[in-house]
Symmetry: C2
Subunit: 231 residues, 2 copies
DNA sequence: GCAAAAATGATAGTAATACTATTATATTAG
DNA sequence: CTAATATAATAGTATTACTATCATTTTTGC
């Protein structure tokens, strides 16, 4: 995907920021700096104070962009879903067979990001690490319902819906397409986290990306279709 | 299981508490009160101050039992794993066929708790709500590795290992038994959370417990065995 | 190129949180 | 019944998560 398109920017729900961080230099430094800092210290130890220091700005200035660190986390996760959707669309373009489409979609949803390219101030590799460890905290709060009303999780739902539709093309009778896809997405994150920190909760087979292989097998078997492997 | 056994207590790793809360009246009030309060306000808004107030004690006294609210959360999750293991053992007693054993195990891992019975000061129904919404926060921290060294997640691993072994009895060649089980356990929590807060990420079919049905199908298909339904 | 507007920086302040410490009082165990 | 232990009452500290104010810089519209 690298360099195929002019640099574009991804839309994030307006309710997560006070001022669009993609619209100014400081805003972009906030995004970049917060990705660096979050990856380094984790959400719990992350503060706007430290962030401001890291980017040579002030706490008050950061607060002009984001109401709280929770909103900033929502921003990053929303951005990630938008980015995933963008990659999903690309990887499905011109692919006809629904089985192929599903296989490719699953790969995008479960694989590890290895190049950081399309977006100037977002390091996608670091962002994925953050997503793996922190994204569930974005919705596991007392504010979910309220935030959900404002469409903050729409990007996530859209992806799940999109891939569910592919499943239903393959097997219109399959009863749990949304569960299956959200299980694969969240599960892939968890399994990567487990591999790093709690390896007895997962499996790793040398020479393959076991997370990708596992969820591929899981999904295709669940919907009762045995796919032709792409080489 | 109700009343079959004399009241017993479950062992929790020593490193999560300063003083065993099951050993004193105040300790038990702390457990009971924290389950009530956590369910009511969620982990973020939960403080030892509020807890102390709720149980008519003091902050300082609570701190004599638990170093921090994170440790208290670890206590509750560890207790939950111990309790799940206990229920797992019961549900597999005298069941010979490995397919049956797996079916029963999955049911225990994914079903909703409906009675609160065996343990005096732990409300298992409320505890399960807390687990659904908060348990992943117990390991998604910077302290995981350190805590893992002290065996704090051993209870969880033990369950995963136990059920993985059943899978391998059925299909010794299956490559991802741990992934499969941890996916089912965590996934079941997530899907219940989604059902309540983000329903477009899941599926619900009237007249069945879709979470249980979904993971049952998923697991049996993944390992290539088509189970006889129990009734 | 300049005035007005907007963005940022510098600094300060507040309420709440997450603890620690001290001493007094109650409870319990030998 | 005394000594040890547990709990309560109270106070205090450092940090966090903000909000407010005002000065300074940058941007923009003409």
């Amino acid at each position: 995907m690298k360099e195929l398109l002019p640099k574009i920017s991804l839309k994030v729900n307006e309710h997560v920021y006070l001022k669009d961080p993609q619209s100014s230099e400081l805003g972009r430094r906030i995004l970049q700096g917060s990705i660096d800092l979050l990856e380094e210290v984790g959400l719990e130890a992350f503060t706007f104070r430290k962030l401001a220091h890291e980017i040579s700005s002030t706490e008050a200035s950061v607060y002009r962009y984001f109401e709280s660190k929770h909103k900033l986390l929502l921003y990053l996760t929303s951005w990630y879903w938008a980015w995933l959707e963008y990659r999903l669309i690309f990887s499905l373009i011109n692919v006809e067979s629904p089985e192929d489409r599903l296989g490719r979609a699953l790969k995008v949803l479960t694989e590890v990001v290895e190049e950081d390219s399309d977006f100037l101030f977002i390091n996608e590799i670091k962002l994925q690490h953050i997503i793996v460890a922190e994204s569930s905290k974005a919705y596991l709060t007392r504010d979910v319902d309220e935030e959900n009303k404002f469409g903050i999780f729409a990007g996530y739902k859209k992806i799940v819906q999109r891939v569910s539709d592919v499943i239903l093309e393959i097997n219109p009778k399959y009863k749990y397409p949304h569960m299956l896809i959200s299980t694969a997405i969240e599960g892939a994150h968890q399994q990567r986290y487990f591999a790093e920190h709690l390896p007895r909760l997962t499996d790793h087979i040398k020479g393959e990306d076991s997370v990708v292989e596992f969820y591929r097998g899981l999904v295709f078997r669940a919907i009762e279709c045995f796919p032709k492997r792409d080489k």
